[in-house]
């Protein structure tokens, strides 16, 4: 969000279709333009040069005083705070915050009036930009359906620290893949339990990481690799009830110290390694029942 406000410029969000009045326009004329265009303020400009601004407040004042026949030049605010079109949006927002006006004329580097900016413009464009960011984020979280060749399916999922919103997506999809493949619900569940626990571990405890899922005819394998900070006491981490989770993670129902023990219990093979730069957990599952002896 903050990043967006720095990245976006005033010209990205300003309204370019301008309704302007001239210095000789009467307040009554200006009020007509404002009403017809559903706007609450109008710059007074001639040939691109900004002279002032007339707001709804000015109109109301003139109505009260019976002065709607006055010219804009006599009634406009002359000392107008304007913005420049190449300013970062964050700067525009702090200016708006400071001056508390509803709208700001925007000038280009030649000092010509090129647009107008209201808080509504900012809000709408920020929401649109945020939506785009979210869509981008979601598509980056979606797996790249890489090689399916030779009966091997590989999927990779990214997790982010404290991103409880997207947590569980990888596991849900992995389980769906297994069920679609006709793998029994017991085994599918074991794989899902492991992937969920590993996913949540990364979300709750690590700086983020990846979950790689590899499916062949015989086995399913999940490799969870995070970016650190590492588990201080690997041996203890495998004991049920041992947890380093903070209070609010616990309040969500996580951090009970069951994640790794659960994972180990359901896996056919389990290994954990790593250091401060990251922890790596490899689990694998046999998809077929052992041939009876």
């Amino acid at each position: 969000m903050i990043e967006l406000m720095y990245r976006m410029k005033v010209w990205d969000v300003m309204t370019r279709e301008l309704r302007v009045g001239s210095r000789t326009s009467t307040l009554a004329e200006l009020q007509g333009i404002m009403r017809d265009n559903n706007i609450s303020g109008i710059p007074i400009a001639e040939g691109g040069r900004l002279y002032g601004i007339i707001s709804m407040d000015d109109i109301i004042r003139c109505l009260q005083q019976g002065a709607m026949g006055d010219s804009a030049a006599d009634r406009m605010t002359k000392n107008v705070i304007s913005l420049e079109d190449d300013m970062p949006l964050s700067f525009a927002i702090s200016t708006m915050e400071k001056h508390r006006f509803g709208r700001f004329p925007v000038l280009n580097k030649h000092g010509e009036l090129v647009g107008i900016l209201t808080s509504r413009d900012i809000l709408v464009h920020l929401l649109i930009a945020m939506n785009k960011e979210m869509a981008l984020l979601e598509s980056s979280l979606n797996p790249q359906p890489t090689s399916e060749a030779g009966g091997v399916l590989i999927r990779e999922y990214t997790t982010r620290k404290f991103d409880f919103e997207n947590a569980g997506k990888a596991s849900t999809e992995i389980k769906k893949i297994l069920v679609d493949r006709g793998i029994g619900s017991k085994i599918a569940r074991k794989v899902a339990v492991a992937s969920y626990e590993l996913e949540m571990n990364q979300v709750c405890h690590s700086l983020g990481g990846t979950l790689s899922f590899k499916l062949t005819e015989e086995t399913a394998e999940i490799v969870a690799q995070d970016l650190g900070p590492g588990i201080e006491d690997l041996e203890s981490a495998l004991i049920e009830g041992w947890s380093t989770a903070n209070e609010w993670v616990r309040s969500l129902g996580f951090g009970a110290g069951m994640g790794l023990p659960n994972t180990k219990r359901v896996s056919d093979e389990f290994s954990i390694s790593g250091g401060p730069s990251g922890t790596r957990v490899v689990t694998s599952f046999r998809l077929r029942a052992e041939p009876s002896v």
């Binding site: 409880f164 919103e165 947590a167 569980g168 997506k169 596991s171 849900t172 389980k175 619900s185 569940r189 899902a192 339990v193 969920y196 626990e197 949540m200 969500l252 129902g253 996580f254 009970a256 069951m258 994640g259 659960n262 219990r265």
Partner: protein, 126 residues
């Protein structure tokens, strides 16, 4: 006489009605509830909840839906009138998980569900 060995599977509509649950997202038609699991620890549920169960919890958030989906739970019963966020409701709709809410706490609601599932033709005290 209670038959403690085998619970009977009961249609979700019947369970909701008998237990006086508020229906937030109805489970898909024909969904059966064959057991219950009560816990506020999601890892505990992940490890121990059975397929087809009702998951009784006060954890009213989206991650609970993921646990229900992964364990194959039929429905989530949110206890103690906890507020249910919009994204949790949407998630339940997407995943076809029933979402119900009770004014009762986990203990009382578990008791009622137990009675319904383990007592043939039982009527639940209100």
């Amino acid at each position: 006489m209670n038959n403690l060995l085998e619970p009977q599977a009961v249609r979700s509509e019947t369970v909701a009605q008998d237990l006086g649950l508020e229906i937030i997202v109805a489970a898909p038609q024909g969904t059966l509830i064959s057991s219950g699991f009560t816990s506020d620890l999601l890892s505990d549920a992940m490890a121990n909840a059975q397929e087809g169960c009702a998951f009784l919890t006060i954890q009213a958030h989206k991650n609970t839906v993921a646990v229900a989906t992964l364990t194959g739970a039929s429905a989530i019963f949110v206890c103690s009138s906890r507020t249910v966020p919009e994204d949790m409701i949407q998630s339940c709709k997407d995943e076809g998980i029933g979402l119900y809410r009770s004014t009762e706490n986990q203990f009382i609601l578990s008791g009622k569900l137990y009675q319904l599932l383990y007592t043939p033709n039982a009527s639940v005290p209100s």
